[in-house]
């Protein structure tokens, strides 16, 4: 399979909807199959790489923080960025700057940059195909 350039636009915030996990799994599959990926995070999805996400214990199940090992989307993205870098592929993530400002979500993990809708236009122009995974 030839290498493709794929662009994604996401909208959902973390911890709210199965679309987030599905979107991240699609990104993972694209990276694993050797494609370059660009992501424009719009609206609530700018919180996916929020650096201050923190794990917690689960008193209902009697789990410590370590046992619960709660998933954090910032860790998912960090792992994907590392996997792409390790394979010499591009995984670019641009957070919509206005959406970041609205939400106070400025603190993002390394590898995430501030962007604008112009980035999505650029991604669309450069890529072989795009997928919008919008909030419903």
């Amino acid at each position: 399979m030839s290498k493709k350039k794929l662009a994604f636009a996401l909208m959902d915030p973390p911890f709210e909807n199965a679309r987030t996990t599905t979107a991240m799994r699609l990104l993972e599959a694209a990276v694993r199959k050797g494609h370059d990926v660009s992501v424009f995070a719009y609206e609530g999805s700018v919180y996916l790489p929020f650096a201050r996400q923190a794990q917690h214990a689960n008193s209902v199940r009697g789990h410590s923080v370590e046992e619960e090992n709660h998933p954090l989307t910032k860790d998912w993205l960090a792992a994907l960025l590392a996997a792409a870098e390790g394979r010499g592929q591009k995984l670019e993530w641009a957070n919509c700057g206005l959406c970041v400002d609205e939400r106070g979500a400025q603190e993002a993990i390394a590898g995430v940059r501030r962007g604008s809708p112009a980035d999505l236009v650029k991604f669309a122009e450069e890529c072989d195909n795009t997928l919008v995974i919008a909030t419903r």
Binding site: F15, H70, A78, A79, L80, A82
Partner: protein
């Protein structure tokens, strides 16, 4: 005496992989522990929460691995151990092709038409 609260849980699998549980069931467990008096009715797709063969393990992104996947049927069993009655709407179970033997023990089948009577026996009804 605590108010009797009926939890109607209809939506399912909305964020279970990220949260490692269903938030409505999790908070019912937590509130039961805090002294609340609850009954649960699972309807729609949420009846699948009772299937005992569920296995959501294996989620991975790069080097990250999920080590504590959701086990919602176990969370329901824990609720029942605490004395919470958990009903499943039997028509919704049947429509999804589920057999009784595929569900965890202790779930109480309830006909859709009998739910209003159950509502009437509670002080509060919360739909999730």
């Amino acid at each position: 005496m605590a108010k009797k609260i009926l939890q109607l849980i209809d939506g399912a699998y909305r964020c279970t992989l990220e949260e490692q549980d269903d938030p409505a069931i999790w908070i019912t467990n937590a509130m039961k522990g805090a002294g609340g008096d609850f009954t649960v009715v699972l309807s729609g797709n949420a009846v699948n929460y009772g299937v005992k063969a569920q296995d959501a393990s294996g989620l991975a992104f790069g080097a990250w691995r999920q080590t504590m996947p959701p086990r919602i049927h176990d969370d329901l069993a824990k609720l029942m151990e605490k004395g919470v009655a958990v009903h499943v709407v039997e028509e919704d179970v049947a429509e999804r092709g589920l057999e009784r033997g595929e569900l965890i023990a202790g779930l109480k089948p309830i006909a859709r038409g009998a739910v209003p009577k159950l509502l009437a026996t509670h002080d509060l009804v919360w739909r999730w």
